[in-house]
């Protein structure tokens, strides 16, 4: 089975001067939102405007990254890699993946009735009904809610054991080579 894997990763602190000023357009790109939303954050005082040049506003890159929250833990990033592989299947076999996920939601909701996990599964149901683009975003986003959703995933039975093993091996090498200094 062919599989296309893609990730939307932001490099947060890799050699960047986080104190430098950036325009609201670049801030929007980092946050994964519209430029207008960044302007709203500035107007609401949630993001400090450091300097105005003509019609342009500038904000500190570090302030923008602060809105994204702390970097993902090893387990959280591993989960994102596994769900990145799921994203590959979703774009090639969307009906199959969504059907499997919905079936799993029904099964898992019975298993977790009355617990916090049931609430996350309900949120997955809403997400699956919000369109493929939104599902793709949640599968690979590092936003706190997406990270929490992936910890209660309905996307089982989609990756083969061999495929899952390859993702875990690949992630282990990635983490060792790129994040070992974080520990």
């Amino acid at each position: 089975m062919a599989c296309v894997v893609f990730f939307v990763f932001e490099a947060h602190n890799e050699g960047m001067d986080t104190t430098r000023l950036i325009a609201t357009g670049e801030a929007a790109r980092l946050l994964g939102c519209s430029r207008q939303h960044v302007v709203d954050l500035c107007d609401e005082g949630k993001l400090a405007v450091v300097r105005k040049g003509g019609s342009h506003r500038y904000v500190r890159r570090s302030d923008v990254l602060g809105l994204l929250g702390p970097p993902l833990t090893r387990d959280q990033e591993k989960s994102r890699w596994l769900h990145g592989a799921i994203a590959g299947h979703l774009v090639t076999e969307p009906d199959l993946v969504l059907t499997r996920a919905r079936e799993n939601l029904d099964r898992f909701s019975k298993v977790h009735a009355g617990t916090m996990a049931e609430r996350w599964l309900d949120l997955w149901r809403l997400t699956l009904n919000s369109g493929l683009d939104h599902v793709l975003t949640v599968l690979v986003s590092d936003a706190p809610e997406a990270t929490e959703l992936r910890q209660n995933s309905p996307f089982t039975g989609i990756l083969s054991e061999e495929e899952r093993k390859r993702v875990l091996d690949s992630f282990r090498n990635h983490w060792h080579s790129e994040h070992a200094h974080d520990a």
Binding site: D75, K78, S79, L82, I86, N104, R107, F108, V111, H112, G114, T115, M116, A117, R119, W120, E148, Q151, N152, S153, F155, T156, G157, I158, L159, E161, R164, K165, L168, R172
Partner: protein, 81 residues
């Protein structure tokens, strides 16, 4: 996750790693002392439980457990956690 489900996971983890001493990390650890009936829903956390071992210098045990019954595994698919 319920106390019974946590016990199921811990038995599997211990058997796979061949280690009787398993450390439960995070919010699910409270289920070791109280059942879910005695706790608010928020305390039951997610369908996952994070575990570690007191002796696992190269993370070989953790990696083995992850490969066998970790996220999106057949175990996860069968039991829902």
């Amino acid at each position: 996750m319920t106390r019974e489900q946590l016990a199921h996971v811990l038995r599997a983890v211990s058997r796979i790693a061949e280690d009787p001493d398993v450390l439960v990390i995070g919010s699910q650890s409270i289920l070791g002392s109280y059942s879910e009936d005695e706790l608010p829903p928020e305390a039951t956390g997610s369908m996952e439980v994070d575990t570690a071992f007191f002796i696992d210098p190269d993370q070989a045990k953790s990696d083995l457990v992850d490969a066998m019954i970790g996220e999106l595994s057949q175990f996860h698919n069968e039991f829902g956690y």
